[in-house]
C-alpha cells in the first residue's frame, strides 16, 4: 500500500469516526424526544382514564425503551470517543512506520544505516498493535449498535399497538394517535441513523 493510499484511508477513517459521533448525537436527541412523548402520553392517558385504559401500560413501555436507548447510546458514545483516540494513534504509528522505513531506505550505505532496522521493526509492531486495537473496538461498536436497533424495532411494534389503543380512546383519540405517530417516527429515525453508523463502520472494516 503506498503512502497516498494510506493517507487517504486515514482521512476517510477520521471522517467516518466523526460522522458516527454526529449520528449518535442525533440518536440521543431523538431518544429524549421519545421520553417526552411517553410523559405526554401518560398525562393524556391519565386524563382519559377508562377510555385509554389499554394505553396506560404502553406509556411505561415507551418510557423504558427511551431510557434503554439513551443508556445504550451513552455507552456507544464513550466507545466512539475512544475510537477517535485510536484513529489518531493509528495514524501516528502508521505515519512513523512509513517515515522510518523511508529513512532506512535513504540510509542504505550510510555508516550507521543498519542501526535503524530495529526501530523500523518496533514501529511496525506498534502500528500493527494499534491497528488491531482499532479493529477490535470497531467490532465492539458494531455489536453495541446492533443492540440499539432492538429497542428501536420494539418501539415500532409498540407504536402500532398504540394506534389500535388510541382508536378506542374517544375524544382523546387524536392526541394519543399523535403520540403513537411521534414514537413511530422517532424509532424510524433511530433505526436509520444507527444503520448509517453501521454502514460507515463496515466501510472502515472493508477498507482496512
Amino acid at each position: 500500500m503506498n503512502m497516498r493510499t494510506t493517507n487517504k484511508q486515514n482521512k476517510s477513517q477520521f471522517i467516518a469516526v466523526d460522522s458516527i459521533a454526529a449520528e449518535l448525537g442525533a440518536v440521543m436527541e431523538v431518544a429524549k424526544e421519545i421520553s417526552l412523548a411517553a410523559a405526554n402520553a401518560k398525562a393524556i392517558a391519565f386524563r382519559a382514564r377508562e377510555k385509554a385504559k389499554g394505553f396506560q401500560p404502553i406509556t411505561d413501555f415507551i418510557n423504558e425503551l427511551a431510557k434503554e436507548t439513551l443508556e445504550l447510546v451513552n455507552d456507544i458514545n464513550e466507545n466512539s470517543l475512544l475510537l477517535y483516540q485510536l484513529t489518531v494513534n493509528e495514524y501516528r504509528t502508521a505515519d512513523a512506520y512509513r517515515k522510518l522505513e523511508q529513512a532506512a531506505q535513504m540510509a542504505e550505505g550510510a555508516a550507521h544505516g543498519k542501526s535503524i532496522q530495529a526501530r523500523v521493526e518496533a514501529a511496525k509492531i506498534k502500528m500493527q498493535a494499534s491497528r488491531g486495537q482499532f479493529r477490535w473496538h470497531v467490532s465492539q461498536l458494531l455489536n453495541q449498535l446492533e443492540a440499539v436497533m432492538r429497542p428501536a424495532r420494539a418501539a415500532r411494534v409498540i407504536a402500532a399497538n398504540s394506534r389500535i389503543e388510541a382508536s378506542q380512546a374517544g375524544e382523546y383519540m387524536q392526541s394519543l394517535q399523535a403520540v403513537a405517530e411521534s414514537v413511530d417516527n422517532a424509532a424510524q429515525i433511530i433505526h436509520d441513523n444507527v444503520q448509517r453508523c453501521r454502514s460507515v463502520l463496515s466501510i472502515i472494516v472493508i477498507a482496512e
Partner: protein, 242 residues
C-alpha cells in the same frame, strides 16, 4: 542533504541542509548536530517533511541509539513539527525546549520522549563532557526562544537570528557579507517583533566569543562576519509591520 562538518575536535558539530528533495513550497532549514563520545544532540531537527532525510543523513555520523537529545529553539513547525516522529524513533531521548511552549509542543506528539523544560533564564545541556549553554533570545522571534552556545567550539546556534531567504542550493557559508545583507533584511524586519529584545540579545551575545554564528535558515557567518552581522542587526529597525 548536504552535510558539512563545521567543528572537529574531541567532538564535532555538523550542519545539515539544502535537501534537494524538499518540496519547493516549504522554507529551507539548517539542522545542526553536536556529536560527543556517546551522545548526540540535534538542534532544531526540522519539520515533518524533513524527518526521513534528516534521520538518514544523521546515520552517516551516529548510530540511532546515540541520538539522545533534541533541542527546539522555539515552537515553529519548521523547527520541530517532526517531534511526533522522533518520539516514535527515539523513545529514550530528551527534548530540551522552552518551558513556555510545553503544552503547545506536545500537540505534535510527545509520549515517550522526555520533555526537559528550559526556564526563561536559560540553562545548560551536558552531552558527555561537552557543556553547551542555552542562551535566552526571547521575542527573536518567538516569545520564548533560545539559542545554543558552545564556549569551547565558539559556535552560537542562533535560530532565526541571522537567517536569510536563499535560492535552493545556496552555499553553507556567507562569503560576501554586503551582498548577503539583502537576503536577510526582510526576514529580520518582518519576523522579529521587538527592537528592545534585539538590543538585549546583542548586548548579551557581544560578551560571548563567537567564531561562527549558525542560523536555522540561510548561511553560517564566520570570523569577522559575525561582528559585521551584529553591527548590521543592531542598526536595523525591526517589527516594521505595525
Amino acid at each position: 542533504m548536504k552535510m558539512t562538518k563545521i567543528y572537529e575536535g574531541s567532538y564535532q558539530w555538523i550542519a545539515y541542509g539544502r535537501d534537494q528533495n524538499k518540496p519547493d513550497n516549504i522554507i529551507d532549514t539548517n539542522q545542526y548536530v553536536v556529536r560527543a563520545a556517546n551522545r548526540c544532540l540535534i538542534l532544531d531537527p526540522g519539520g515533518v517533511e524533513l524527518f526521513a532525510p534528516m534521520l538518514a543523513a544523521v546515520l552517516n555520523h551516529v548510530p540511532v541509539e546515540q541520538i539522545t537529545d533534541l533541542f527546539a529553539s522555539h515552537q515553529d513547525p519548521d523547527v520541530i513539527s517532526s517531534l511526533g516522529l522522533w518520539d516514535q524513533a527515539l523513545p529514550k531521548a530528551k527534548l530540551h525546549a522552552p518551558a513556555l511552549w510545553e503544552g503547545f509542543l506536545r500537540h505534535y506528539g510527545c509520549d515517550t520522549i522526555e520533555y526537559v523544560p528550559i526556564p526563561d533564564k536559560g540553562g545548560v545541556i551536558n552531552l558527555d563532557s561537552v557543556e553547551l549553554q542555552i542562551i535566552p533570545a526571547h521575542y527573536l522571534h518567538s516569545s520564548a526562544n533560545f539559542h545554543v552556545y558552545d564556549p569551547h567550539a565558539k559556535i552560537l546556534m542562533s535560530g532565526d537570528v541571522g537567517a536569510a531567504l536563499e535560492a535552493p542550493g545556496a552555499p553553507m557559508f556567507v562569503d560576501k557579507f554586503d551582498a548577503h545583507v539583502e537576503k536577510m533584511r526582510y526576514f529580520h524586519q518582518r519576523w522579529m517583533p521587538s527592537n528592545q529584545a534585539k538590543r538585549a540579545w546583542i548586548e548579551r551575545v557581544r560578551n560571548l566569543e563567537i567564531d561562527m554564528l549558525a542560523p536555522q535558515h540561510g548561511r553560517i557567518f564566520k570570523g569577522d562576519d559575525v561582528k559585521r552581522f551584529l553591527d548590521w542587526f543592531e542598526a536595523l529597525p525591526v517589527g516594521v509591520a505595525i
